[in-house]
Amino acid sequence: MLKRLLALTVLAAVAGVASATAQSGPIKIGAILPLTGSGASYGVWMKGGAEIATEEINAAGGIAGRKLEVIFEDHAADASKAVNAMRRLVEVEKVPFTMTSYSAPTLAIQPIGAQNKVVMMNGGGQSDNLANKPYLYNNIPVVSNEVGVIAEWLAKEKGRKAAVLIVANDEAGRNAAKSFREKFAAAGGKVLAEEQIALDGTDFRAQLAKLKARGGDLLFISSYGRNVAIVADQARELGITIPMAATSWVQVPEVLKSKGAEGMLTTRLPFNPDSPFANKFKQKYNVDAGFFAVQYYSATKIFAKAAETAMKKNNGRLDGEGVKDAIETVRAFDTPSGKLVFQPNHAAVMDIEVGVLKNGKVEVEKVIKANP
């Protein structure tokens, strides 16, 4: 009996120490990002955005008096790396919240987050399958919104009737291609052929040659990062002269600078390059900020706001469940791109712009409002 009592006391003491450290000291959250590999340019923005937000939060006194600390992990576009990173964050660092990116890695970690009650905020992946998942919130619209806009624009206003598709062989690429097939057909167009490519590949000539032989009047590129620049350059090299189109994923320096991508028709999500945030980013990192930088700046700020709300409600205790409930009750958050409202499907809606890529910039032709 005495032994058991002693054991209980020790246990209680240990538990007490554990919860004491959890209630003071810095608040640790995770961020699983493409810091290397074919999407490393996105990673520079995402990490920078989160860092600037963290500095601002800590300069303003932290979250309920506690400093915020972000643990950055690299998934290099590989879902199994994301899973390992998530396990470390959940089991070793015991974070209540993590930022995540890319579709396949986010889908892979979601069951782990849901099981361990860790909130995940995705600011970059856009597969439709990311909606309606417990503990996963997307402060970005799912891709079918964007693809719907561009497919209709291409068919109705640009007179495109027959498309060929080149598709990154992963969750994001395949999901966007599936959306494109549906929406382009609904707008009166036809998809003639589809070829798949590896995201980290460097030679897509065989696929492009096959697509060229199918004719058509539009090449839709359902891929992202460096990959798109290689596709565009090699397509031109093979004498493919039909217009190319893509989604906002092509807003990375490699694509904007590439010769082959000149004239590409594309969507864009709202980003103001002259905002105070963009200026601050440029000053700190000496790189122009992009859309994805704001996304992770916002994601960090959303966490701070939700954590503060949760801690107020739960007497200073912070856990994933509390953060989730806070996001559900607050729902609308202020971001540099305007007010962001989480929809019932856990995703955001945004204005969508369509335009033409010229001299490294998108010349916007039309804006489709999220809330007309």
């Binding site: 810091l35 290397t36 590989d78 879902a79 199994s80 790396k81 892979a108 069951p111 062989n169």
Partner: protein, 303 residues
């Protein structure tokens, strides 16, 4: 800290199974395979798929994994082992590439690069293996079982035939042993056991995608065998214990993962070279008597 330790021990269990099974080929018949990671993947996919779609339990998954692994290996072993060892290196590399392409592109089944999430934790005799330390027990138990199977195999009459083949193939053939058939059988058994590790891995991480089963993984498993010592059963175990501790140790040095991953590989590669100079028989291995070296090979005219 304890979470790290548990994870390390589970991985030791999984890689011990891989190394022990590969050693049946490398150590006992002297055949090098570059496809063991792909076989590991076949096991992982097979048992994940039957768990996700058919609701088959952990033991059923293990059996399916073993059968699938054996079939995949037989596909290559039957044509290439009829020829010679060098062919098997190339053919097994081919198998590695083909299987990885299948994991990647048979998207209806494997979900391609996006992989299979949400694989259930195993239920063993009505008990769900969920906490890290419970999983340690399961992984080490299966590793012990594999060790027992390998021990039994290598100490049987069949095991002695294999060693006779390794030491002098021509003499073994002259004694009326069917060299090719014995090689094919052991390649198949080795793969069936390797596939078990895949099943264990899939249910542990609860997520699989092709990148866990790539060529560098095959090379890593081979390093475990060679550095541990391929002519002793316990050699690969020692290799797994020591080499898997390396990445865990590097984690405490706060090196970014982008540098740490290749650095780990550099270390493994350098160890392979150094061992070939100072201790080619591996940590536990016994120096091989000169008389047992394979005979010099026939030469080929260039031109």
């Amino acid at each position: 800290m304890t979470a790290y330790l548990a994870h390390y021990l589970v991985m030791v269990g999984i890689y011990s199974i891989l190394a022990l099974s590969l050693n049946l080929l490398v150590g006992y018949v002297g055949i090098f395979s570059l496809a063991h990671a792909a076989i590991y993947g076949v096991g992982a996919y097979a048992s994940a798929l039957v768990a996700l779609h058919l609701g088959l339990g952990f033991w059923g998954g293990l059996v399916v994994a073993a059968v699938a692994g054996a079939c995949a290996a037989a596909l290559v072993a039957i044509p290439s082992l009829r020829v010679a060892g060098d062919y098997y290196i190339v053919a097994s590399f081919g198998l590695q590439v083909v299987l990885l392409t299948v994991f990647m592109n048979w998207t209806d089944v494997t979900n391609g690069h996006a992989g299979l999430p949400g694989i259930p934790r195993p239920r063993v005799f009505g008990w769900v293996v969920d906490t890290p330390f419970e999983y340690v027990a399961l992984a080490l138990a299966l590793a012990a079982l594999t060790y027992a199977i390998c021990h039994r195999l290598t100490h049987s009459a069949f095991g002695r035939v294999l060693q006779a083949i390794r030491d002098d193939e021509i003499a073994a053939a002259a004694m009326g042993k069917n060299v090719v058939l014995n090689k094919i059988v052991i390649a198949t058994i080795s793969s069936a056991l390797g596939a078990l590790a895949g099943s264990l891995y899939a249910h542990y991480i609860t997520y699989i995608n092709p990148s866990s089963f790539a060529l560098h993984e095959s090379i890593f498993i081979m390093s475990l065998v060679i550095l541990g010592g391929s002519d002793r059963l316990a050699g690969p175990l020692v290799g797994a214990f020591i080499l898997l501790a390396v990445p865990e140790a590097l984690k405490f040095l706060a090196i970014p993962d982008t540098v740490a991953a290749p650095m780990r590989q550099v270390l493994y590669g350098a160890l392979l070279i150094i061992f070939m100079f100072v201790r080619p028989e591996g940590i536990l291995g016994r120096a091989r008597p000169k008389a047992l070296e394979p005979p010099p090979v026939t030469s080929h005219a260039i031109g």
